[in-house]
Amino acid sequence: MMIERTLIFMIFLVGFWAIIANKHIIKKIFGLNIINAAVVLLFILEGSRIGTQAPLLDMQVTNIVDPIPQALMLTAIVISVCVSALALALSVRLFKATGSFDIDVIQERLSHEQ
């Protein structure tokens, strides 16, 4: 149990490291996706501890897992994909404008633009 949580924590930290330390903007978007995936994993993993059956309410089902985190995570997954789609479109535009993926280089080159 604890090991699983620690693994998810490590996944989260890997993603966060990519966001803060990597200068490559696409890598930053990868990091954003990874931390989102980590949170989704955490919600589902912990929500499934209290039951043993999928939350489809038939007659013979007695002990379902918590369906609330699942419904929340459906929304969270979609939002994260939307965010990364927009971020990618923006980064393609930035690449076309500056010819670089490095965030500092982009910032520096665009600061000369009026």
């Binding site: 693994l7 993603g15 459906l74």
Partner: protein, 79 residues
């Protein structure tokens, strides 16, 4: 089983960050999504699994590949 999948996801996420080839990173990211979808099935969350497989592994990979196709595939070495 959960543990194995989580270790694989961790390994893949490190690969995503470390790889110099962006296309490899994208494929690894889509691998993360597929493995999470598998994990969600094991954790009795079929709805989330379908969404993750369709959206995480499908759509977002398409967008990433499109973006890389329109820009540059390899991360430039510092010079």
């Amino acid at each position: 089983m959960n543990l194995i999948l989580l270790v694989l996801i961790l390994a893949l996420s490190i690969f995503v960050i470390a790889s110099k080839d962006l296309l490899h990173s994208v494929i690894a990211l889509s691998g993360i999504s597929m493995l999470s979808a598998l994990l969600f099935v094991l954790l009795k969350a079929p709805d989330v699994a379908i969404t993750e497989a369709a959206v995480g592994a499908g759509i977002s990979t398409v967008i990433f590949v499109w973006a890389i196709r329109h820009t540059r595939r390899r991360e430039k070495e510092e010079s």
